[in-house]
Each structure stands twice: as C-alpha cells, then as structure tokens.
Amino acid sequence: MVSLVRAELRKLLGLPTAWVGLVLGTLIAPAVVLLNAPYIRRAITAGTLTDPSDLGLRDLGIGLIGPMILGVIVVSSEYTSTGQDAPGARQLTATLTAVPDRLRLLVAKTTALVLTVAAQAAVTATATLTLTQVLHGEHVPAPAPTRVVAAILYWALTALLAYAITLITRNGIVPLTLLIINSSVVSVSYLLTKVTDLASYLPDIAGTQMFLRDTDFPVEIAPVTAGLVMTAWIVVLLAIGLILFQRRDA
C-alpha cells in the first residue's frame, strides 16, 4: 500500500494543474488578510467586529479553491483524453493495468489527496493566522488549537467532497465550476439557507461551523456535529463513487 500511495502522490504532484491548486490555495488566504488589513483595523476601531476570534480563520475560506482543484483533478486527470490520435485513450488504462484492485487504488488515491491537502492547509493556516496576529495582534485572541485543527480538517473534507463528486461525474469541468462558483461568486448553498433551514445541513454550510463561531445561518450546529454532518455527506458520496467506479467499464 505504501508504494501505491507513493505512486499516487507522484501522479498528483506531477500535474501542473495540481501546482496551480497548491500555489493558489496557499497564497490567496494570506494575501486577503494583507489586503483586508486596513478595513479590519477600521472595523476594530469602530467596534463593528462581533467576534474577532474568527479573524484569520474566516479568511481561510477563500483558499478552498486549492483543495477543490486538487480533489477534482486527482480523478479528472484519469479521464482526460491522452491525445488527439486516440480520443478514447486515457490515463485510467495505465492506472488500472498497474493497479487492477479498484478498492485499493481508491484508498491509495484518497490517502495521497488527504496528505497533500492537509499539508497545504497546515501551511496556509499557519501563514494566515500568524499574519493576522502580526497585523491585529492586540485585538485578536490567539486562535484555539482545536479550531485550527478543525479548519485544516475542513480543507481536507472539502477536497474529499470535490473528489467524490468527480468520481461520480468522471469529468472535472462541471464539479470544479460549480464548486468554485458556489464558494466564491454566488453561494447557492447560502442562498438556500434563506429558503429552508434544511440547507444548514449542506456540507459546505455545516462544515464552516466546525471552526467559525459568528455565522448567520438559521440553524446553529455545534462544531463536532458540524464535522459529523459534513463527514456523513462525504461518506455517502464516496460510497456511491466507489460503487460506480467498481462497476463501470474503465
């Protein structure tokens, strides 16, 4: 299994798109902290900031584009056509001839993805929170370690969500577009919370409550429950993805 994980890590980190995800995801959140600094200072002075302990942690959300890209391409790269000469040819053929046990393959892939994203999240969280301390130190309490760990977990779970969806769709463009739009331009999940309270249990909405306190969702979910809700979504989607992956012809 160790050699399989090593192979999957090599495969993932050998893709230029993976580095786009790694670099973007790691740099955006600290950059936003820097850009927002003057506005946050004014908000602190004016006293409009309700929960300063969310500062920095909240900025981590924008970096989620990184784990989303990684989660999608770890699967979609298998299904991309390898060339115009042979439109049906895909890397998946090489992958499955090398590792025909599809369950072991997915376990190795999942492990490689989680290791990569967790490392990225740890670096990003450290950079973002340190920067927040440096810029607004006197007004912001040092972040509780459990909340930082929860934020890192949220990144890993977001990557797994993107991964599970792509395993079902076998195409990266649709899930990547939807996930990025939903997390940045228009949050459909957030709008849905205005329509029904049930939307509070959508994976991205529940997930943020693992580490953020000051949210305006209709249903407040305790951090551990929030983590369990998001995990449950991923377990179900991964199970569907696995069954389809096992049954489908490659």
Binding site: E8, T82, A89, Q91, T93, P100, D249
Partner: protein, 237 residues
C-alpha cells in the same frame, strides 16, 4: 499463457462478443486478427480487467488479471495511446507506473533506452507523435520485464523502421519464452510475425490455429481471411 474461455459481452444492448474462446501459448506470437469493430480490443480489455465480461473467464497464467500481485511483473499491456497524461513527461509517467508496482526508478530509463526514447525522456507526452506515443506505451508495458505481452495494434502509427523494429522485438520476446498476444487488422504484418492466428469477426471466433493451418489452401493469409469472414474485398461496407 493466456486462456480465454467462453467470454461474452453485451454493450448498449448489442452483443459484441459471443463465447470467445482461445489460447495464447508461451514461446509463440499469437496474432488476433479481425476487421475494425470485430471485438479485438473488447476482448483484450476484458483480459486486462478493464471491462467486465457478461460471462466466461479470461485468465493469465491461470489467474484473472485482477488477482495478479504486482501485475506489471507478469503482464505488459499496450492499448490505445500511451496511457500517459498529456502534461507529464515520459520519464515522470514511467516512474509513477514503476512506483505503483514496487519497481525501482532506474527501470524508467532502462525501458526508454529499449524503445529508443532516451532523448525524449523530458518531453511531455502531449507533444509526442503517434509513433512516439506507441513507443512510450510499449516502454510502460516493459517496465516489469513481464513474461506475457498483450499488445493492441502495436504497429499502428509506427514508421517503417519502427515496424521492422517491432517485428524483431516480438519475435525475440517469443524466442525468450514469452507469451505474445497481439491484435491487428494488418494481415500482411501478422503473416510476417505470428506463429498462431486467431480470427475474430462480428464478435465470434471464426478460426484459429497455426499460421499455415489458418492460411490453408489460400495463397495468402489475407485471402483466407476474406473467405473466412465472408467480407467482400471490393465492397467492405
């Protein structure tokens, strides 16, 4: 040794393989011959565990492909394209494949040398010509120094030098005791290389045996093929 026994498969409501049964033996080149769409690739994909048969078994050295431990050390396979992601260099592709089967990195450079791609090791697979892609695919098949080779249309896209090289390579492999199964629709090519021939048409095996037996009284393998498959040479579709 490859044993395919009563393999049937239906795709989108159409039966594409009917009880396909044949063997490929060690030390011999077995040519799997048939027109486009006859079921050659479908059979090979089932043999390699990529697609699932509806019924029947396909075994390599007595075991289904999925049950082979570190399969690349037993079977080398070449299907459509090179199998390398376009953004990856030839060497990076070979190294991850090697790692997945516990083979050392040094194997990547060794097989690149065998197929004559050493100078292109750092080139991205997306920039490869068709012939180079086939060579990279073959290099991947050779990583584990396998005793069985399964090659789908291996000479497709190769230039005359490449075709000649491939022919010699296949003969050498069989001479060393390997089992070589290759599919082709090029009859002249197969007549030059194969010891045994299996002919498939519309998903059914129409004949199999030694090259001389299959050719029989016909002047060439090509003539025998047209008679067997009842394809009219002047009106093929």
């Amino acid at each position: 040794m490859i044993t395919i026994d009563c393999v049937s498969k239906t795709k989108s409501g159409t039966r594409i393989l009917h009880d396909v049964t044949f063997e490929a033996r060690p030390g011999r080149v077995t040519g799997f011959l048939g027109p486009n769409g006859a079921g050659k690739t479908s059979t090979l994909r089932i043999l390699l565990g990529l697609d699932r048969p509806e019924s029947g078994t396909a075994l390599i050295c007595g075991r289904p492909y999925g049950k082979l431990d570190r399969p690349l050390t037993t079977v080398g396979a070449l299907l459509d394209g090179s199998g390398a992601h376009r953004a990856r260099t030839a060497r990076a592709h070979l190294r991850w494949v090697a790692a997945s089967n516990g083979l050392p990195d040094s194997r990547a450079d060794e097989v690149l040398e065998v197929v004559g791609l050493t100078r292109d090791a750092r080139k991205r697979a997306g920039r490869f010509s068709l012939g180079m892609s086939r060579r990279l695919g073959l290099a991947t098949a050779l990583l584990g120094d396998p005793e069985v080779l399964v090659l789908d249309e291996p000479v497709n896209g190769l230039d005359p030098v490449g075709i000649r090289w491939m022919r010699a390579f296949l003969r050498d492999s069989a001479a060393q005791g390997r089992t070589v199964l290759l599919s082709s629709h090029l009859m002249g090519e197969l007549a030059e290389t194969a010891d045994d021939v299996v002919v498939i048409d519309k998903g059914r095996i129409v004949t199999q045996g030694g090259l001389a037996d299959v050719t029989g009284d016909h002047p060439t393998l090509e003539d025998a093929f047209f008679t067997l498959t009842a394809t009219e040479a002047d009106r093929p579709w």
